[in-house]
Amino acid sequence: MMASQEGLSTQAEGTALKIRKVTKRYGAVPVLNGIDFELREGEFLTLLGPSGSGKTTLLKIIAGFEHSDAGRLVLGGEDMTRMPPSRRDIGMVFQNYALFPHMTVEENVAFPLRMRSVPRREIPGRVRQFLEMVDLGEFASRYPAQLSGGQQQRVALARATVFGPRLLLLDEPFGALDRRLREAMQLQLRELQLRLKLSTIFITHDQEEALIMSDRIAVMRDGRLQQVAKPEHLYRRPVNEFVANFVGEANILSGTVAEDGAGRRCLRLEGGQMFPLPASKGTTGQPLSVLLRPEHPSPVPPGDEPDSTITGRISKVIYLGTTIKYLFEAENGLELHFRRQASHREEVLPVNTPITLGWSSRDLHLLQ
């Protein structure tokens, strides 16, 4: 499967990091398979993928804690494939923070500056500035054990950014935080990243978090890159079924390419239904899967004639406050999810309501 990338050659900004064909195996098990992408200057890129897809391994290779079996890393034009971690100038935030327990907050944040022989006079001011940036000004002389999880997280963030790293890496930094704290931290991280124009690689397996935070998202599966794209691009035009299912909710319709009486290209499902396709791609008889996001099918109002319709009944209703999720079952057994904005003008449809759903062929997205 080829990873698709958009617009790398036409970008205006410089490239912060080039990852070229990085491959890694543990024993006989391949963990990373020809990973190849670029991080732009000041870009926030998220590695998104299920557990075990190789996200942490890739991050460790970039930080230098692991070596790739093959491939190259180029940071700011400099090949650093074999450079020791201490010379890479990369700030990293570990999942469990990895704060030094025997140093105060202040000493923790000063640590990378001391290691870089920053003049002694300059250290306290800089440390203070970064601690204030993460709202920890008054905690400077505490030890990590005396801080809450969220506070420790922010110390780790200050420590990883205080020395002006060329790259910031974060491995599921908010995994241990509760939902509200998590959302606050997401905002704070993004703000800091934009202010400092940090080229950042962020790991998560939470697709919502990835969509909220990122300039671009790189989706990984089993050590392979599936797609690198902007959040809205990834959502609207995923390259394959895996990405479509992993980012947002998806109806996948599978069948073969066919032609209807009017000569239009259609998708013919196994049950025999035909739905017009948006583009006249593919040859007749070729197998094809298309994506239909749950916000596109909707009950057809009288007098309206969308180019695709299907009749059946509501089989399940999930009320989510602002939206309502329905499961629809067609007469021949095909199941579709669809979603409605909750509104006081529209009643919640009860289970078993007979209904005709319709959509426009332009809402379909062809998968590879």
């Binding site: 230098g64 201490s86 469990n96 030094f100 025997h102 290691m115 030890y143 054990a145």
Partner: protein, 290 residues
């Protein structure tokens, strides 16, 4: 002071937390049996000893111990030997413990067994073994003479070096084990983090690893120093009467000279030295951070 120590220890373990939720009074009750036994078999004889040392309300025995150059020399020598032995133990134990903490689990178990092996035989037997090995007609001297390396036997025992050697050998496990335990507790991720933040291997060691294992060093040093101060068999056998430590002096005072108050005063001096040493080491290696 005791209450903060109690809560911080309790926060680490669920069991401790469970106990802490009961009233402190009730959990103190649990200490009672140990306290009674210790009170009867330890503190009462100690008090008795202290009383004996100032028998008749005079500090004569102390004046004698700290005034007479002969005894001052013995006391000085005792501290010197204990200190040097502790230092050598530390120098030997730290790399060994590091090896054990970083090697494969299998080799680690083997090393642990080897370190603990001496505990399986008595100190007396082991010390005699050293005499067989190092004596005037011992194996080492015999080998060297028979092969023409030396003409006269080397004085390997019955001197300070011999006593220090025996003490180090006897006490090394007491240094290795606490340091090893402290090293096993160090989170490897911290060293990676330090490396990523720009620390060289030397700085990772001095800024992260050493401070985090200082508690183990303190515990080991306290144990070894205190045990070395009060070692009896090792100096008695390997010193051969030429290297006299306080314990040997006490023994002669009790068994031959029959000067019990003087022996008691010497014992109290060791006790005080022990407490002082323990507090100093404790203060130096205290974990301030939790």
């Amino acid at each position: 002071m005791t209450s903060t120590a109690f809560t911080s220890a309790a926060a680490e373990r669920p069991f401790g937390r469970m106990m802490a939720s009961a009233t402190p009074g009730r959990s103190l009750l649990l200490l009672l049996p140990a306290f009674l036994v210790l009170g009867v078999i330890l503190f009462m004889p100690l008090l008795d000893l202290a009383a004996l040392s100032i028998d008749g309300g005079s500090f004569g025995p102390y004046v004698k111990a700290l005034g007479d150059p002969l005894y001052v020399r013995v006391i000085g020598q005792t501290f010197q030997i204990a200190l040097i032995s502790t230092g050598i133990c530390l120098i030997l134990a730290y790399p060994l413990a590091y090896f054990m903490a970083t090697t494969s689990p299998r080799l680690r178990i083997l090393c642990l067994l080897l370190v603990a092996l001496p505990f399986w035989t008595s100190v007396l037997v082991r010390t005699y073994a050293w005499m067989v090995l190092l004596g005037r007609n011992g194996i080492i001297n015999r080998l060297l003479i028979d092969n023409g390396f030396i003409a006269e036997p080397l004085p390997l025992i019955y001197n300070k070096a011999g006593v220090i050697l025996g003490t180090v050998y006897y006490l090394l496990p007491f240094m290795v084990l606490p340091i090893f335990a402290a090293m096993m507790r160090v989170d490897r991720q911290l060293l990676l983090a330090a490396e990523g933040l720009g620390a060289s291997a030397v700085r990772r060691f001095f800024s992260i690893f050493l401070p985090l294992t200082l508690g183990g060093i303190g515990a080991g040093a306290a144990l070894v120093f205190i045990l070395a101060l009060s070692a009896f068999i090792t100096p008695a056998l390997l010193g051969g009467g030429r290297v006299i430590m306080i314990t040997n002096l006490i023994y002669t005072q009790v068994s031959q000279v029959l000067d019990w108050p003087f022996a008691a005063a010497l014992s109290v001096l060791i006790l005080v030295a022990t407490i002082v040493a323990y507090s100093c080491i404790g203060l130096l290696t205290r974990r301030r951070w939790n």
